[in-house]
């Protein structure tokens, strides 16, 4: 198995950075799921697709705009009407879905290499993300598991809340280093760890 190269490598410096003398309030990392799959249902077939997600991953995805779920290993969330991102640690998720998501239900697109997943966690995660994205990150407005499609710096980003103070940001691989550097810089103020 050939290991995948991270687009962040030259700027991925493990350790504490910024104003960390009084503790770090943000942890940044790359989650590197082996599979990232985009699923899209034809109009009217959304529930079938949600059922397919459950069949393949065991994740019971709530119905509704931006709804999502994460079990710590696999994650799924809606990012547009009838469209979902599913990520997991095992390779071959796209092949597994291809067997279940028939042409009658929708399409499966493997984007495992094409997206980079950056995780930001910690008590100041909302604060740092709010510097970039004009969306409400408060827990009351953005529930755990839910996803959002948004944009910053002309870069499309899909964000899933995977914990009370934890978010996974999916960005196009070619932009990932720019996003990473911007996140690191924005986190300096509160002190951050790269893990």
């Amino acid at each position: 198995m050939v290991e995948r190269q991270s687009p962040l490598e030259p700027d991925f410096h493990v350790g504490s950075h910024g104003n960390f003398e009084h503790g770090v309030e943000v942890i940044l990392t790359e989650t590197r799921p082996d599979s990232i799959v985009q699923l899209a249902a034809w109009p009217g077939e959304e529930k079938m697709l949600i059922a397919a997600i459950r069949t393949v991953t065991g994740l019971a995805l709530p119905d509704g705009a931006g709804a999502g779920v994460s079990d710590g290993v696999k994650s799924a969330f809606g990012f547009a009407p009838g469209k979902f991102i599913v990520a997991g640690e095992a390779e071959g998720l796209a092949d597994a879905f291809a067997k279940v998501v028939t042409p009658v239900i929708g399409t499966v697109t493997d984007i495992s290499h094409g997206r980079t997943a950056i995780r930001i966690a910690g008590p100041k995660a909302e604060w740092v993300l709010s510097k970039f994205f004009a969306i409400d990150f408060a827990l009351t407005a953005f529930a755990v598991g839910a996803g959002r499609s948004t944009v910053h710096h002309d870069i499309f980003a899909q964000i899933q809340r995977t914990g009370t103070d934890q978010f996974d940001i999916y960005v196009f691989r070619s932009f990932a280093r720019s996003v990473w550097k911007a996140l690191c810089r924005a986190s300096e103020e509160v002190g951050y760890d790269v893990q």
């Binding site: 050939v2 042409p103 290499h113 710096h153 196009f172």
Partner: protein
């Protein structure tokens, strides 16, 4: 302790000494001081020179509305001008300098302007310098000549040119209730709204929350109001649903209840914390807004009202109570309302002697008489100040009896010694944000002020509620009651009666006498910042200006950094009197954002110095490590050349292109746009999108496709691979990837929603390497496993799947270079691994890496088009691609492509050019038929791309030339006067090299 600093009182920390400099002189102050209070404490009262007349000026106010004491703050090489000294918090190492003076603040040469008197009235510069003929300088040329000198003499501070190294940030915030202003009304509103569970943001431009509670000397629930404020703030601080934003000016109110605010995060610190920004721009989306922005005290307009030592009454009260500084030892007050009496008592308590209270009203109330007595002041009712005395500081004033019913002065003038004169002309609610939100202010005759209209909580665009002095409720008790009600209402709850804090305040009537000006001899300033006098306003009237908006433009009243915060109403009142109309009929100007100056850096925020993100291919780091010179192509960075030591760009790309044609070359093509087109109707969709047929394409094959725009002009080209019956991989040009994606999404969403097709950008999923040249197939054969790559398995436009170095790859045989070539795609995360494996395999065959220059050279030699030729003006026929226009089906653009103008014979068509003088050609150069170098004209076209062709040994170009095809074999000239290039060229076919494609097809 300095002579003006009180021994006790104020909210400064006397144990903490701060050192700073002003105009090069070292001073000390205390933690909690502003530059204004610290300098005042040291007896420094001359803080600026006026805009036009260079008159000496001191502090007029204690807050953001300060028009006089503007300073420049220096941080290293960076200078920030025009900051009110009242808003600069001192810190160790602060360096501030005064402005608009030469050579010094005390001795300013341009003070001679004061002698100009009436000459320099409103409109002087335009009347004098626009139009006259002075020697060779006529009309505006004379003005242009003089402007430099006039601008040097007039104005505010000057901006620096050093790069600002500070950090700026943006913050997006959402809340249920935004409370603007943290005085008693704002604090009550924030508390009440948060009690209801609402998410609250409380913003105030001052560093210390509490507003007037910090300096009025009132008591709330038996304790000093400042203590109540501190306790309330502490309470709010402990709540999860409340965010407090001190030092934050809410400066703009926009549609959808979006408000803009500027937080001065670290201006008050010697050094910002690590990673801490200087300023933070807040974009706040609030469900509801409570405007508790208070009110500004107005000056009175009388001769000499701008002399240093003349100050607003509440400002002096604030300096005494909040900063422990007395603005003078012997103080007189001049007022048209009751609020100044409280200031007199406060200053008396702080240790000053109150010489007199001069009141324009004939009969101040008994309460006021009592307060005057308490202050130890002589009460001079029905009197007015008619002049001030002194040089650069006040030494005394002149009084006269005054009849406020007709404005007449009578009786003998009387002199009085005083080193400080406080004035109060009533209060104007700070309605700027409501005005920005569209609220039309209403004149209140009792308050003599423009008040905001009724709350617009149910407005379709803006939802705000007012509270406190903002609404004209000037008493603290009323403000607190309104604040609570506003907070509850803003949170969407119903107000229920509750016990309110008990306020013990000095009594007073909130309504002033309608007196704005005392007309006597001498300059009476209305707008201190722009040196606009009462006479200027009357001059504007005499010259026919009737609209308040025109008045503003003619006199500059209300312009500059303070935007007329203290001058608007007095100016308006004087204009109204001149017009003989009541004030409401004259109207007021609409306030626009920003409320106070905003740093441009904060608006740029994280984009400051970094205007665009970098887009990198998966092999980017390999390219850098292996000597590539990178080239910016849109957001992408691509290798231009891989130069050997000592090579020029031309030498490098010629070597790379020649080696590719002779053996093999490899180039990173990961930037090509790649779009997955999937679904049962994918083939049908592509038939509609492309000019040629795709539904007939076999699985495992690729086809070159051309797209037109709806208007029939060429749009984009690329190959599309059929990976499955319902699964296509479309490639686009690098530059047009985004546009093509939008184009496809638009047609699927809007025009053909019935088609079952999904499109997904997979540009970043696949890394691409194009390997071409006579040895390319052999190289692949040595490293590809799992599939053959021979002609039978992989014919031209065929696709196979295999592995390279244990990584799955897709290989398509297609060519841009004109050689036998293959595009090898793999998952982007494996790209460098595969790239290096290909290079290893290619070593024995002389494989070279090549960049965009060689890529461009080979495509020019082949006559392929790119965005330089598909430029939004050319048709498929212009580019000789009409063979791709299917006649069997309609497609996007087919209905419009045959319009008369698009098939005219004189259109620019693609041709090749060969330089006959063997000199380089330039992109953009014109093609002319004339031989006259000195007078080239009648361009017949232009060059779109050019290079030295190693295959031909000549400088060649592609060009768009009128009737191009018919001109093949003729000669013309290239004309590029800007770059000094003129020379003969031969017009030939765009297919310079291997026109039959023998090398490509093998």
């Amino acid at each position: 302790m300095s002579p003006r600093r009180t021994d006790t009182g104020g909210r400064i920390d006397r144990l903490k000494t701060i050192r700073f400099t002003f105009d090069g002189t070292a001073y000390t102050g205390h933690a909690g001081d502003t530059l204004a209070s610290a300098l005042l404490a040291k007896g420094v009262i001359l803080l600026g020179r006026s805009f036009k007349y260079h008159r000496p000026r001191g502090l007029l106010t204690a807050g953001v509305e300060e028009p006089n004491a503007l300073v420049t703050v220096l941080k290293g090489e960076v200078r920030e001008p025009n900051i009110p000294a009242t808003m600069v918090e001192i810190h160790d190492g602060l360096v501030a300098v005064s402005q608009n003076r030469f050579p010094s603040l005390a001795f300013d040469i341009n003070a001679v302007n004061q002698l100009g008197g009436k000459l320099l009235s409103a409109g002087f510069y335009y009347k004098t310098f626009m139009g006259p003929v002075v020697g060779p300088l006529k009309g505006t040329r004379f003005w242009m000549f003089c402007e430099h000198f006039i601008r040097r003499a007039a104005g505010l501070g000057s901006a620096g040119s050093a790069k600002d190294t500070a950090r700026y940030e943006r913050m997006n915030a959402f809340c249920d209730v935004l409370v603007v202003g943290s005085g008693p009304a704002g604090l009550m509103a924030a508390k009440a709204a948060s009690d209801q569970g609402a998410r609250v943001i409380l913003a105030d431009l001052e560093p210390r929350l509490g507003g007037s509670a910090n300096w009025t000397g009132e008591t709330i629930d038996g304790a000093p109001a400042a203590d109540w404020a501190r306790r309330t703030v502490a309470q709010l601080e402990g709540r999860d649903n409340v965010r407090l934003l001190p030092r934050t000016t809410v400066w703009g109110y926009y549609d959808g209840n979006t408000l803009a605010a500027l937080e001065r995060v670290s201006d008050h610190k010697d050094q910002p914390g690590k990673g801490e920004p200087r300023h933070r721009h807040w974009a706040i989306r609030a469900k509801s807004v409570v405007l508790a922005t208070g009110a500004f005290e107005r000056p009175l307009v009388f001769p000499g009202n701008d002399r240093p030592g003349v100050m607003l009454a509440h400002a002096a009260e604030r300096f005494a109570n909040e900063f422990g500084v007395l603005p003078g030892q012997r103080i007189a007050l001049f007022t048209n309302n009751d609020s100044a009496y409280r200031a007199a008592v406060a200053l008396k308590k702080a240790g000053a002697a109150i010489a007199a209270i001069v009141d324009v009203r004939p009969e101040p109330s008994a309460d006021m008489r009592e307060l005057a007595t308490e202050a130890g002041a002589e009460l001079l009712a029905a009197h007015a100040v008619i002049a001030t005395e002194g040089g650069r500081a006040l030494s005394g004033l002149k009084l006269q009896r005054f009849d406020m019913s007709n404005g007449a002065l009578n009786g003998e003038a009387r002199s009085m010694h005083a080193d400080c004169l406080l004035m109060s002309g009533g209060w104007s609610p700070t309605i700027h944000l409501a005005s920005q939100a569209g609220a039309r202010a209403e004149w209140d005759a009792a308050r003599q002020a423009f008040l905001p209209p009724k709350p617009a909580q149910d407005g379709p665009v803006q939802r705000w509620i007012g509270a406190g002095a903002f609404t004209g409720s000037f008493s603290t008790a009323a403000a607190m009651a309104e604040g609570r009600a506003a907070g509850i209402s803003a949170a969407g709850a119903t107000n229920t009666p509750a016990a309110l804090p008990v306020v013990d305040a000095v009594p007073g009537d909130p309504d002033p006498a309608p007196v704005f000006e005392i007309r006597a001899s001498g300059k009476s300033f209305v707008d201190f910042q722009h040196d606009v006098t009462a006479e200027d306003v009357r001059l504007a009237h005499r010259e026919g200006f009737v609209s308040v908006e025109h008045l503003k433009r003619y006199t500059t009243l209300g312009m500059a950094t303070d935007q007329g915060k203290s001058s608007n109403i007095p100016g308006l009142a004087i204009m109204a009197e001149a017009l003989g109309k009541p004030i409401p009929e004259v109207g007021t100007t609409r306030f626009r954002p920003p409320f106070a100056p905003v740093s441009i850096g904060s608006l740029a925020a994280e984009r400051f110095g970094d205007l665009r993100p970098e887009r990198l291919t998966p092999m980017h780091d390999w390219h850098l490590a292996n000597g590539a010179t990178m080239y910016s192509a849109g957001l992408w960075y691509r290798p231009m050349i891989y130069a050997l030591a000592g090579e020029t760009v031309e030498q490098a790309y010629v070597r790379e292109a020649r080696a590719t044609r002779e053996s093999a070359g490899i180039v990173d093509v990961s930037t090509l746009g790649k779009i997955a087109v999937q679904g049962p109707d994918a083939a049908e969709f592509l038939d509609r999108v492309y000019t040629n047929m795709f539904s007939t394409l076999a699985v495992g094959k690729a086809r070159y496709g051309l797209m037109l725009r709806e208007d029939g002009l060429a749009f984009d080209d690329g190959t599309t691979w059929r990976l499955g019956e319902q699964d296509f991989l479309m490639t686009t040009t690098t530059a047009n990837a985004g546009k093509v994606m939008q184009h496809l999404e638009y047609f699927l969403d809007v025009i053909w929603p019935d088609l079952k097709v999904h499109v997904t950008s997979v540009t970043d999923e696949w890394a691409g390497a194009a390997i071409g040249g006579p040895k390319a197939r052999q190289i692949l054969a040595t490293c590809v496993t799992g599939t053959a790559v021979g002609n039978a398995t992989l014919p031209f436009m065929g696709i196979v799947r295999g592995r390279i170095a244990d990584v799955p790859v897709m290989i398509c045989r297609l060519s841009f270079s004109g050689e036998m070539a293959f595009e090898v795609y793999c998952g982007a995360g494996h790209s460098t691994h595969v790239w290096e494996a290909l290079l290893d395999a290619g070593k024995p065959f002389g494989l070279v890496t090549y960049g965009l220059e060689a890529l461009g050279t080979m495509r020019i030699e082949k006559g392929h088009v790119t965005g330089a030729e598909i430029d939004g003006r050319t048709t498929a026929r212009d580019l000789h691609l009409d063979w791709m226009l299917s006649k069997k089906k309609p497609f996007i653009g087919s209905a419009m492509m045959d319009r008369e103008g698009l098939i005219a014979s004189e259109r620019l068509e693609l041709v090749g050019l060969i330089a006959l003088d063997n000199r380089p050609l330039n992109g953009g150069a014109h093609i002319v038929e004339e031989v006259d170098e000195a007078n080239p004209h009648d361009s017949i076209g232009h060059i779109t791309a050019c290079c030295y062709s190693p295959a031909l040994g000549k400088y060649i170009a592609l060009a768009l030339v009128k009737g191009g095809k018919a001109r093949r074999g003729t000669r013309a000239h290239v004309s590029d006067p800007l770059r000094g290039r003129f020379g003969p060229v031969e017009i030939v076919s765009n297919h310079f090299y291997d026109p039959d494609g023998n090398r490509m097809h093998g």
